[in-house]
């Protein structure tokens, strides 16, 4: 079971990273959901034993390596997302998908807030309101994304 979970996690993380880096026209890139964060959150809820805070931290570092103005910024924010997922996984995963996306909206808003705060403290401020859009688009794509991820691997619970 765990190898299959590991394989599914690895592949989904890879695909999410590619989707994050893929060049898009600027109006579309602004609305691009944080796929990697969503994937980490999904696995934190579904398989809190095999994918948790460590996975989140590693994925965050990956994001930092490609996109972060400061190393460690995304690592902290994604680890926080994973921590919330692991801690509340039983409460969240029993909810219907529509309610889950509301939770996702709150979590992504928190994620953006952490990034926004660290951006400000480290001297790389990005204060435009456009930065909050991905939280909403992320909540919108949660339902299809969770559906797609559920087909890759279903944990025995």
């Amino acid at each position: 079971m765990s190898t299959s979970a590991g394989g599914a996690i690895f592949k989904s993380v890879l695909v999410a990273l590619l989707l994050t880096l893929l060049p898009l026209p600027s109006w579309l890139a602004v609305a691009r959901p944080d796929f990697l964060v969503l994937v980490v959150f999904y696995w934190a809820i579904q398989t809190p034993r095999s994918a948790g805070i460590g996975l989140g931290w590693v994925c965050g570092l990956l994001l930092d390596a490609f996109q972060g103005p400061v190393l460690g910024e995304h690592a902290l924010a994604v680890a926080l997302v994973a921590y919330l997922g692991v801690r509340e996984h039983q409460r969240i995963r029993t909810k219907p998908l529509m309610q889950q996306s509301l939770v996702v909206l709150a979590v992504l808003a928190l994620y953006q807030f952490v990034l926004w705060a660290i951006d400000g403290w480290s001297g790389h401020p990005l204060t435009t309101p456009l930065r909050w859009i991905p939280a909403f688009t992320g909540a919108l794509v949660w339902t299809p994304l969770a559906g797609a991820l559920a087909r890759t691997y279903r944990p025995r619970t």
Binding site: P23, G52, G56, G72, E73, L76, L126, R131
Partner: protein, 354 residues
């Protein structure tokens, strides 16, 4: 996969402790990394390695786009190619005719200034670089180029395109480098209004079509249509390169500063290739080398009295098209003195306009 977490035990009693405990550990690790990264020199090596490791992935992600462009090029029709060829030839002819008189003008300029030799242009070497199309941070104005330390690229190197200043390099790896565009909110560019010689700073807005000039007093002599050129201060960009054209000026009745917006000349959104620039260190138009920034220079008025350097050919030109009015008094020595060598401006940031 081993790094992804422990896999045994119930969710609440794992080897690594409770989720809260583990999160605290990871958070502390992140904060340590952030603090180290803020002190540039500590993680410089790690950044170099990261730039090396990420480059293959970035090239792979860019591959479909690059392939598409390649396909488009391969199947371009003969008519398109001919039209492009024709326009390029016209452009080349125009440029050639313009450069025909360049040497003569430079000599004439030197003669007018009382110098024996024409000053060589500031740019010494150029290197074209292709832009690797990839997302380097949402809403941040950055691009990746396919040249790195193997090509001699260094940190904070000036990057230009055919039309004007593009930005400067940030993290440089062996084969790639991040370029911070002049429109990034973090980028400040010391500029000069070409018509008046007035020096100020152009700040990025995050919008690829706009630079802001927030430090212009309300009574400054600025007009819509004024051209901005680099002022040569700040240690990165040589003087005299075109930057932007002023498009909007808003003067409020009660505001002490005017809100001025300029549109960059460089085609920041559509560029597929840029030029990296090496400047001649001795040239007066070249920016002040970084090691000179640390020199104690005392009062600005005392600077012209500094002993002249050993008999190098006298190098001096005034800032291009600057008239000896507003800004001229603030920094460089007067153009007539042959003893003046590259202006020893100590501060990396130019004066915030009197």
């Amino acid at each position: 996969m081993a790094g992804f977490g422990t896999r045994s035990g119930s969710p609440y009693s794992r080897g690594g402790g409770s989720p809260g405990f583990r999160f605290t550990l990871y958070a502390l690790a992140s904060i340590v990394i952030m603090v180290l990264d803020q002190r540039m020199d500590v993680l410089e090596r790690a950044r170099y390695v990261l730039q090396t490791l990420t480059y293959p992935v970035e090239v792979a992600v860019n591959a479909p786009v690059a392939g598409w462009h390649w396909l488009q090029r391969s199947f371009a029709s003969r008519a398109t190619l001919e039209a492009e060829n024709r326009s390029l030839r016209t452009r080349m002819r125009t440029l050639e005719v313009r450069t025909l008189r360049f040497d003569a003008l430079a000599r004439q300029n030197a003669a007018l200034l009382g110098l024996k030799h024409a000053v060589p242009p500031a740019a010494e070497r150029w290197l074209p670089a292709d832009i690797v199309d990839i997302e380097l941070g949402r809403l941040r104005q950055r691009v990746l180029i396919d040249r790195g330390t193997r090509n001699g690229v260094f940190r904070n190197q000036a990057v230009l395109d055919d039309y004007g200043v593009v930005g400067q390099t940030m993290h440089v790896g062996p084969w790639s480098a991040d370029v911070l565009l002049i429109t990034d909110p973090e980028h400040d560019l010391p500029v000069q209004i070409a018509r008046t010689g007035f020096r100020t700073i152009a700040v990025g807005t995050g919008d690829p079509n706009a630079l802001a000039l927030p430090y212009l007093p309300a009574n400054a002599d600025v007009k819509v249509g004024d051209e901005l050129v680099t002022s040569g201060l700040g240690g990165i960009f040589p003087a005299g390169y075109p930057v932007a054209r002023i498009t909007q000026i808003h003067r409020g009745a009660i505001q002490r500063m005017s809100q001025v917006i300029a549109q960059p000349f460089a085609h920041l959104q559509t560029d597929r290739a840029v030029m990296l620039l090496w400047f001649r260190p001795g040239s007066p138009a070249a920016p002040v080398p970084p090691n000179l920034r640390q020199l104690p220079t005392g009062t600005p008025g005392a600077q012209p009295l500094a002993p002249p350097p050993p008999p190098t050919p006298p190098l001096c030109t005034p800032p291009p098209t600057a008239r000896p009015t507003a800004g001229a008094a603030t920094s460089t020595a007067s153009p007539g003195t042959p003893a003046a060598h590259p202006p020893l401006k100590p501060s990396p940031s130019p004066p915030r306009t009197p």
